[in-house]
């Protein structure tokens, strides 16, 4: 016999789909099938059942091979590494629950760490812009029920957030959007003809790295001022026309992604995009939202926001929180040799950071906490496998629109495996012992 668990939350991307159905064995120990999820989400659930899954911590030996160690030994190594370091980097935090993030923050404060999350190579620049000029935003529910002008700027949800378009942005029929996609106009701004662009009414194929200029041109167009003949590779007639399309909508939503946050100008692109949204509110209702990647990167920003006042790149080394991306961001710290130990949890910098930074991690004392074997675990000295959050343990996560959703446990983790929160709690207790606090 099997049983079906309904209304399961998907712990993959920031869309945090909440309508999955998971079939588990009667004893709740095996996960058999996943329904309603996208291919990536389903794979995340099924991967917890992998036969070759690593279930015990491992330590790198001098000859490069792994040796299995106990959780106690891993806790001891991690606690000593953090207690000995003058300025450890504690990075990741985006693929775990808020409870683990809070415990990790307490640990970071005691050891004087720099706490940074994956926003540092993702939407951190959006957070800088928000801090500079604020943000008029909304929830995905409002988008579904109200939005009739959808802009995807520098993002490709068809591949990165596969169910976003069907659940919230393009296709759903909502309270005031009964016609579904036929009542909506979709504008995609992307240098490439992406799969998202192929379903758009208008594709503005912006010249690579000229988003800031194009956004500025929209603002000039809204005000009815004169534009140069071509801006960012787009003829001015198309810009005026797109500006009118936006102004004539009842509710405009701008979604943006890595294409603008991590290309030339970074935070300035978002700053100008927020200004575009603000300007649009003089004609209609408009909102803007970052397409957050990891399922709980938004949550780590929330947790640190309420604990430290800053959403990422928080330097606690001097006992108070400091924040200055460019100095306290992971890649700058690694590049400049500003940190002397690296702790990674719930992220894969080995795959996402520049190779020069990954080499620095390899050279330093380092621990990676991750259910999977990843490029990061390959360069770290100790790998601690843990239970999958949202599959084998519940906990709070924040969707990309800052709505908190409680994830659910659907299956038991392999016997004797720790969760992120348990492991961090044990390391915290040991660090307190070492430091005598």
């Amino acid at each position: 016999m099997t049983k079906t668990v309904t209304d399961v939350i998907c712990p993959f991307c920031g869309t945090l789909c909440d309508d999955l159905e998971v079939v588990v064995s009667d004893d709740g120990k095996k996960l058999l099938e996943v329904y309603n999820a996208c291919a990536i989400g389903a794979e995340k659930f099924l991967h917890s059942q992998a036969k070759d899954r690593i279930t015990r911590p491992r330590m790198r030996q001098d000859d490069g091979s792994w040796k299995e160690i106990t959780y106690d030994e891993a806790i001891e190594y991690t606690a000593k590494m953090l207690a000995d370091a003058k300025k450890p980097l504690m990075y990741g935090w985006s693929s775990t629950n808020c409870e683990a993030q809070a415990t990790g923050s307490e640990l970071g404060e005691i050891v004087g760490a720099v706490m940074d999350n994956t926003a540092t190579v993702c939407h951190g620049t959006s957070l800088i812009a928000v801090q500079d000029i604020g943000i008029p935003s909304c929830t995905l529910g409002e988008v579904k029920n109200r939005a009739d002008r959808i802009v995807f700027w520098g993002c490709n949800p068809a591949h990165a957030h596969p169910r976003h378009m069907s659940r919230y942005s393009i296709f759903p029929r909502g309270f005031f959007t009964g016609k579904g996609h036929t009542g909506r106009k979709v504008i995609v701004v992307d240098p490439r003809p992406t799969d998202t662009a192929s379903v758009a009414d208008v594709h503005l194929q912006v010249e690579q790295g000229r988003d800031y200029e194009l956004l500025n041109a929209f603002r000039v167009a809204f005000k009815g001022e004169k534009l140069p003949d071509v801006v960012a590779g787009i003829p001015k007639e198309k810009i005026y026309e797109a500006a009118e399309t936006l102004k004539s909508g009842r509710f405009v939503i701008i979604f943006f992604g890595m294409g603008v946050t991590q290309s030339l100008g970074k935070n300035h692109n978002i700053d100008e995009a927020i200004a575009v949204t603000r300007d649009l509110n003089e004609y209609t209702k408009a909102a803007i939202m970052p397409m957050r990647g990891h399922y709980n990167v938004t949550g780590s920003g929330q947790v640190w926001g309420w604990l430290f006042g800053f959403p990422y790149a928080v330097d606690l080394s001097r006992g108070f929180a400091r924040y200055n991306p460019g100095e306290t961001t992971s890649n700058d710290l690694l590049r400049r040799d500003e940190v002397d130990a690296v702790f990674v949890l719930g992220s894969d910098p080995g795959a996402h950071f520049p190779f020069s930074s990954v080499k620095k991690i390899y050279d330093l004392p380092s621990v990676a906490i991750d259910p999977h074997e990843t490029p990061t675990t390959e360069v770290c000295k100790v790998h601690v496998p843990v239970a999958f959050v949202g599959v084998e343990i519940g906990g709070c996560a924040y969707r990309m629109d800052n709505v908190p959703i409680e994830t659910r446990k659907v299956v038991e983790p392999p016997e004797g495996m720790m969760t992120d929160e348990e492991f961090l709690g044990r390391v915290l207790a040991r660090v307190k012992e070492i430091k005598g606090v």
Binding site: K86, K87, D132, R219, E225, D271, D279, N324, D340
Partner: protein, 268 residues
């Protein structure tokens, strides 16, 4: 004026946070007392004397104190932070935050500085003989009031995000600059004697930018108005005047909208 000379003898393992290297902190102190001032490496507090050889003595007040810092200071942050008077000469390269939030006095760096030099500067003079990093004379993160007074002179090149949120004061760059100049500025004057790339005056409300060389891409929000003959930093010439950012908010004076001004030298 009394002079204190600091010569670096031990490089820090990580980076040294030395916000105590200011005439204000040194004033009225002898060499031994200065050696006891706190500095930080990561979470550990150290004494200035552990890293520097210190000779001479400080004047009675900050204004009567000159500090000469010698050696490789490329791992030392915050030199001259928040200083109000006196003088600092840095003989070598310095790291981040040189003269950040400075209010008065003079800093001369005979080398390069890293990012965030002159952050939120209010007054005084900062002279950099080499190159400057990113965020020169910019606002601190999240602050909408950037550099408001004083003068920064760079002989070499400057990085990106020059004078962000500037409200007053002057920055003169002898060489080239990277992207984003005077973003969100509401005043102040920036002179670029070399070339600029793109995004000059984006979201700029008021203030002036002068460029002697090329601009790769002009912001669409800047419109050409007229040619003018003016003198800039000792150079007379004909400049094309652009006004903008047309997409941004602007105040009015006597019914006229006041725009930020961008001047580009016209070369025959």
């Amino acid at each position: 004026m009394e002079t204190v000379t600091l010569t670096i003898k031990n490089q820090p393992g990580l980076y040294l946070e030395a916000d105590t290297i200011t005439p204000d902190a040194f004033a009225g102190k002898k060499a031994e007392e200065i050696a006891g001032l706190p500095v930080y490496v990561g979470r550990d507090e150290h004494k200035l004397g552990e890293f520097f050889e210190i000779s001479g003595k400080a004047g009675a007040t900050a204004a009567e104190t000159k500090i000469v810092v010698k050696g490789d200071l490329s791992r030392v942050k915050y030199i001259g932070m928040k200083m109000t008077a006196g003088e600092i000469v840095v003989d070598g390269n310095a790291d981040m935050y040189v003269g950040a939030w400075m209010q008065g006095g003079k800093i001369t760096v005979n080398g390069n500085v890293d990012a965030f030099a002159g952050t939120g500067m209010k007054g005084g003079e900062l002279i950099i003989k080499g190159n400057a990093g990113n965020y020169l004379g910019a606002a601190y993160r999240g602050d909408w009031r950037g550099m408001s007074g004083g003068k920064i002179t760079v002989a070499g090149n400057a990085g990106s995000d020059l004078g962000t949120f500037m409200t007053g004061g002057e920055i003169v760059v002898g060489g080239d600059v990277d992207v984003h100049v005077a973003t969100h500025a509401e005043g102040g004057k920036i002179v670029i004697k070399g070339n600029a790339k793109s995004r000059l005056g984006g979201q700029m409300v008021e203030g002036e930018i002068y460029v002697f060389g090329n601009i790769d891409v002009m912001m669409p929000g800047f419109a050409y108005r007229e040619d003018v003959d003016i003198e800039v930093d000792g150079t007379k010439g004909r400049f094309a005047l652009y006004e903008g950012d047309l997409g941004e908010r602007h105040r009015k004076r006597k019914g006229q909208t006041i725009y930020a001004k961008l001047y580009q030298q016209i070369r025959a």
